[in-house]
Symmetry: C2
Subunit: 250 residues, 2 copies
């Protein structure tokens, strides 16, 4: 099974959720991360489904296809791994894993069968007996000054780590639509610039090398791709032509 | 300046925000990640501050201390770097950076001065002229099926990357409150278990090696720390005593 497919084996399990808005926001966060299946364990009777609908926006299908269970044990019965989220430590919570470090392992397990990502109540989190059902206890780091994330935001942060793990390493190169500029192309660009700046009288031969160091530094930072370099070269070329034409006229 | 301090140099800038709930949720996400300063650019006149208050929960101080500006240029005038978020590509948006890859660079810049993290309108994002004010354009990867994150969740994901960058690499070891079990401790634990399982008649000398391979495998996976190993040893020891006592009585 490929890693993207493995995302479909993730089950977001919300235990005793109080607020509909959090359920809806969780659905949207799941959809943003390619996670599709929502399971609710004994949601609060006062939960407002209208808010859930509203916050799910374009992920109402996930909300509509949710499955509801009476207990966490029933909700995770078919899962090969159960990752509970908790921010509290304690005697039986020694085996905390960092959400980013554990993501590849959880994704690997999801290639073999359903994996539950379990989130507790807005006020009390997961109970000890619920954490005992977990094969992993996951902690999402936060500022000590305000360590408690909103429920839907915890769902987002963990699902995003799994999406990242499935997508593989971040890839700026793929985000760039142009290949990196070669040293040769950079050099030709700077040569064009040098000739133009001499022609404009911005610098003279005796201080040109010194001044070009500055431009070299600027473009070394700024020019990353062929497209960048060709854009600069094109502008300099045109400026040179304009200058020549003006000189001929004058 | 240390990296934690650098978080205080981050400025979350929300441009033309429509919904108060998103402003409040953004405040909470900022507080969760140790980011303190909120700047608003021309928020929608219909924005409901009551919802903002409610969603900020324990981060209402960030909301109360917000600064409001008429234009993005004014809001980021004092910033040494301006990171705009966008999910759309296009001719002048080639210099996309991945939110995770760019976080350490942005944090490094924040050690030298204020750095703006800029988020556009819920419906239209940032305008081209606003993106032209940005030194970085940041993309937060998402599922192609539903690539648009809620505004407050985009704020959370980028602030969390910066918090991670400030906190340094994820550290499961620190999360463990007990040192790793040594091979010697593991060996003594398994020897105790072997003696006990022979005493109970669960296995005999002739098949003990074979059966212990199975337990070896299980505990190799399950026993990571001294605390784990001592817990198992303690249970086996007690079971052995109980068995002896029962045999003496019988």
């Amino acid at each position: 099974m490929n890693r993207r497919k493995a995302l479909e084996n993730l089950r977001v399990v919300l235990v005793g959720t109080l607020y509909g808005g959090n359920v809806g926001s969780a659905c949207r966060a799941m959809a943003n991360c390619g996670v599709r299946e929502l399971r609710l364990v004994a949601p609060d009777p006062g939960l407002t489904w209208e808010f859930a609908e509203r916050m799910a926006v374009h992920a109402t299908d996930i909300l509509a296809e949710r499955r509801t269970f009476a207990t966490l044990a029933e909700a995770v019965a078919d899962c090969v791994a159960v990752a509970g989220t908790s921010r509290r430590g304690g005697l039986y919570r020694r085996h905390f894993a960092d959400s980013r470090e554990v993501a590849p392992e959880l994704l690997g397990l999801a290639e073999t069968g359903p994996v539950a990502l379990v989130f507790g109540r807005e006020d009390k989190g997961l109970l000890n007996e619920e954490l005992l059902l977990c094969t992993h206890v996951v902690q999402i780091p936060a500022s000590p000054d305000y360590p408690s994330y909103n429920l839907a935001q915890s769902v987002l942060l963990l699902c995003h780590e799994l999406y990242r793990a499935a997508a593989g390493p971040a890839r700026n190169r793929e985000l760039e639509s142009s290949p990196p500029a070669t040293a040769d192309l950079r050099g030709r660009m700077l040569a064009k610039l040098r000739a133009y700046l001499l022609a404009t009288g911005f610098m003279q031969e005796d201080n040109a090398d010194h001044m070009m160091e500055g431009f070299g530094r600027v473009f070394a930072r700024g020019v990353r791709t062929e497209a960048d370099a060709k854009l600069v070269m094109g502008a300099v070329q045109q400026a040179g032509w304009a200058l020549d034409a003006a000189k001929r006229r004058g």
